[in-house]
Each structure stands twice: as structure tokens, then as C-alpha cells.
Symmetry: C2
Subunit: 200 residues, 2 copies
């Protein structure tokens, strides 16, 4: 016997080890878990993978993932069509939905400007955003990108691009996370919290 | 839109979150990774899951996982048939194979005695071990269970069971892990290392 498992087991370990956040030991653990699991559970996982690739597409309007295009948010008549929240990835839509603080529409860029990874403005869904703003219906664009270098650069780029248009561009507040400890806050975050202070 | 994803995506997240070592955030990350991956890679993962359930079985002799029963180790004429190494799980076979220090046969118990989890001697492959020893060919049984309470209890139980037979029962050495620091060793491990000291 070689120092690897028989074909099918090793194939499964290798396939899991390719996924983000799973190392070789974790992949082995999962493979043996599936070996011991009943056939139904393993089949359900295989089916779920195939189904998501077969059914899920991107919304032609906002770029979010969905099973019907346009997506349920874009066609929902109860949503406020005058505000668009711009996010990097489809999963950010869910993060904002969970706050229950936003009832407008979304626009998923599909990333952020990152010269190190060869992602420029042309690789993002920026023309689609401009097209949506062309109708004149939108009065505010909320930039909700990640508060890191790439997100900030993209926010600045898009803000300037929208400058000439008659639309207010806002961004998420920077500051201390709720429940955080002042002692452990980094200087930049604490500085932003100070600059952005509000009346108590 | 509800506060969960559309059907297929949520199904996939739920299916991954059931696997050991993957939490809800990790499952979401994997689901979006697969959404972005090319169809071939996702299909390969689904296929690997189905294949492992269809092909992999347990060796009728040693209880290891394999695609042919008896397994390649049990039928290998170059292995030393006078020594059997007893382990808890199939993955432990691979751990010992990787040391390249053992050329005998294996016997997988399928667990260890654990009254808290309702696992008693009757749930383990102990009768099969006794049957293999019945031929008289085996001169040594190496107990290689996990060095924890359940493993120790099982080792003691099986050692006593094999007492009347003409077979030497040994166990893995306890001691300091190679590369470890004396300062951080727990008392029990350090005590065992002292008791089991060898000539330098």
C-alpha cells in the first residue's frame, strides 16, 4: 500500500482540500465522516452542489446571486427604488439584509479595485451602475464596501465618477464596533470614531 | 426576500455546515467559492462524494477502508503476518503507515470503549481479532489506540482478554513528542517519559 489512500477516498480528500478554509487534515476528517454517514446525507451534499451550479445565476440588474433573474429584491415593489447600496460581493447583500435597516436596492460590483490582483475598474460592474443611475429615479448611492485599502480606493473612484451626477453618494460610518473595548481599538478606527462623533 | 438565501444556495450552505469542522460562516464561504468555481471543479467534488459511497467498503479481515476486500495490506505477501497492530479508526492505519516503521498487519476496532457514548466491547471488532489470533500465526499484538481515557481502557480490556493466549501484547511508548519543550509538557506525559526512560 502506498502512503496515500485508495483511489476514491484520496480523490474525495483532495477535492475537499481544494475548498477555502479546509486543510488536508480537515479534508481527511470530512471524508471519513462522509464514509460513515448514511448514503442519504452524502447524496444530499452531492445533489446540493450540482443543484447550485445548475440553478443559481446572477441577477441581470443588481448582480446578486439568485434563482430567478431579475432577483426577488429587484422586483419587490415594497423596496425603496430611490436608494442603491453598492457592495463588493453577493454575500455582503445578505449581511446588510440581516441588519433590517435597509429597504432600498443593491448593486453588486463583483469585487474591489486591487492592482496587486490585477483587478481594475473595468473588471467591476461599474458601467451597469451608471446605467441604473441614468433613469434619474435614484437619489442616493450608499457605498458599503469593505473598510480596507481596496474598498476605500473603489469607494473613492466611484464617488468621483458619480460627482457630476445629481445623486448623493454616502458611505458606511467608520467607528468602534458595538461591544468593543476602547483599549483595544486601533488608532485609525478610534480616530475615525472621533472625527465622526455625534450628539449623545 | 427573507433573511436566508434562495433555496439552492441555502441548501448547499446547510449541507456543508453539517460536516465536521465547518461552521455556518465557513459553509457560506465554501458555497460562494463553488458558485464562482468552474462547473468542472464543482462536478468533480459531487462525483467524488458519490464515488466514495459507491466504491469504498470495509476489509473483511482487518476492518480498514478499501475498494477491494480483503484490502491491499491484508493480501500483501511482503507484510509480516506475525504482528498485528490494533488501531481505533481506519485513518489511524494511514498515520502508522506514514511512519514507515511498521511492516505487519492491522486490525481496526472501529472505536474505543466509551460508556458515556454507549460504546461497549460488544460494539468493537474484538471477536474478529480473537479469530485472527486463533490461527497461532501471530506472535505479537501492538495496541496503538489513542492515549486518552477511552483508548487506555480499551487497551487494558483487550490486554487482559489476550492474557491467556500465547501472544505478546505491547503498546505504543508514551513520552515527550519529538520537538517538544520540557517546560510545556504536562505532568502525566513527563512522568511517563521518566518511567519509560531508555539508555542514551
Amino acid at each position: 500500500m502506498a502512503l496515500a489512500y485508495d483511489g476514491a477516498i484520496q480523490n474525495l480528500i483532495d477535492a475537499f482540500a481544494k475548498l477555502p478554509g479546509i486543510g488536508p487534515k480537515g479534508a481527511q476528517r470530512i471524508a471519513f465522516y462522509l464514509l460513515g454517514a448514511d448514503d442519504q446525507e452524502a447524496q444530499a451534499l452531492a445533489d446540493a452542489i450540482q443543484e447550485v451550479k445548475a440553478k443559481v445565476r446572477f441577477c441581470e440588474i443588481c448582480g446578486n446571486v439568485c434563482e430567478t433573474s431579475p432577483c426577488p429584491i429587484c422586483v419587490d415593489p415594497r423596496r425603496d427604488r430611490t436608494v442603491i447600496c453598492v457592495v463588493q460581493e453577493p454575500k455582503d447583500v445578505m449581511s446588510i439584509e440581516r441588519t433590517r435597516e435597509f429597504r432600498g436596492l443593491y448593486h453588486v460590483l463583483g469585487g474591489a479595485i486591487n492592482p496587486m490582483a490585477n483587478v481594475g475598474p473595468a473588471d467591476l460592474r461599474i458601467p451597469q451602475l451608471l446605467e441604473r443611475l441614468g433613469s434619474g429615479e435614484v437619489s442616493e448611492v450608499i457605498m458599503a464596501l469593505n473598510p480596507n485599502i481596496e474598498g476605500e480606493a473603489t469607494t473613492t473612484y466611484i464617488s468621483r465618477l458619480l460627482g457630476p451626477l445629481e445623486v448623493k453618494v454616502t458611505r458606511l460610518a467608520s467607528g468602534l464596533p458595538v461591544g468593543a473595548d476602547l483599549e483595544y481599538a486601533d488608532e485609525v478606527t478610534l480616530g475615525r470614531a472621533l472625527v465622526g462623533r455625534r450628539e449623545a
